[in-house]
């Protein structure tokens, strides 16, 4: 009856199961890192959220491109772009929060101008702006056109931001002593936990986008269904003979 179907239920259950396994493994099964100690357990949350943040960015860009290519005839692509952006912004916030918590433990500071973290920060701000644009237009077609152009401009912007941040940080020769997941020696269990974390979060991402997109479809339909009602009401107003309102 609501937006759930058998496929989304199966997807949801799988996502929950794998997430449970990741949590158990992250807290209890995997060993502490010889250098960083237990703080490495945050990595199993930080890396998957970062992966989803970029996956969401790519999904929104591709969906916007398709929506533009189809001249917005079907609004499905635009809704997927919007849904993926909303979920993506949430995951980007998680990436930044877990990244700074982890940084606090390993580098002693909440924020490190690490090229990847900084690019994620710009990605986050860009998509907050994208979502602000989506809220302005009322008419779905105009909203689709305007937001898809902004999303494609972001595709241009983010590589430029990343490149200039990497170049900028290289000026300051002291490479970040411990980048978040570079030199942590991962044994196979840790690697498997990390990998299943990425899988779990990808399933969660897909589940959220599917539901959010259907929710957006319904609110658009509600406006269009409202439209038919309004058109018939509009016609009823028409009184021939210049009576008018």
């Amino acid at each position: 009856m609501k937006t759930g179907t058998t496929t989304t239920r199966v997807l949801g259950i799988f996502a929950l199961m794998i997430t449970a396994w990741v949590v158990v493994s992250a807290f209890f099964l995997t060993p502490a890192d010889v250098v960083q100690g237990d703080s490495v357990r945050i990595m199993y949350a930080h890396v998957p959220t970062a992966w989803i943040a970029y996956l969401a960015f790519v999904t929104t860009a591709v969906a916007s491109g398709l929506s533009l290519a189809r001249k917005h005839r079907t609004l499905g692509f635009d809704r997927v772009a919007g849904a993926s952006a909303e979920v993506g912004v949430l995951f980007m916030a998680m990436t930044l929060i877990t990244g700074s918590l982890w940084g606090r433990l390993t580098w002693g500071t909440f924020w490190q101008w690490d090229p990847r973290l900084t690019t994620t920060l710009f990605l986050f701000v860009t998509y907050v702006g994208y979502l602000a644009i989506r809220r302005v237009d009322v008419d779905p077609v105009r909203r689709a056109r305007r937001s898809s152009v902004i999303a494609l401009l972001a595709v241009l912007e983010i590589p430029l931001v990343h490149f200039s941040v990497v170049l900028w940080r290289s000026l300051h020769q002291e490479a970040s002593v411990l980048n978040t997941d570079g030199d942590v020696r991962l044994d196979d269990l840790m690697l498997f936990t990390l990998f299943s974390g990425v899988v779990a979060f990808t399933l969660i991402f897909v589940w959220l986008v599917v539901h959010r997109q259907r929710l957006a479809a319904m609110s658009d339909v509600e406006r269009l269904v409202g439209l038919d009602v309004a058109i018939t009401a509009r016609r009823a107003e028409s009184t021939v003979g210049g009576g008018g309102r």
Binding site: K2, A32, D38, V225
Partner: protein, 44 residues
């Protein structure tokens, strides 16, 4: 376990926010879909 506070915090924030978003989406979906006839829902 050292730094348990930080580790717990990051996990709770991550999973908690996903849970909140999921529940909000499902609730709004349930309330909205009661008002929309089924033929307008391609997935039904």
């Amino acid at each position: 376990m050292k730094d348990l506070g930080f580790i717990l915090a990051s996990w709770i924030i991550t999973l908690g926010s996903i849970g909140v978003l999921a529940i909000m989406t499902l609730r709004r979906a349930r309330e909205l879909s009661s008002r929309i006839p089924d033929e307008h829902k391609p997935w039904v």
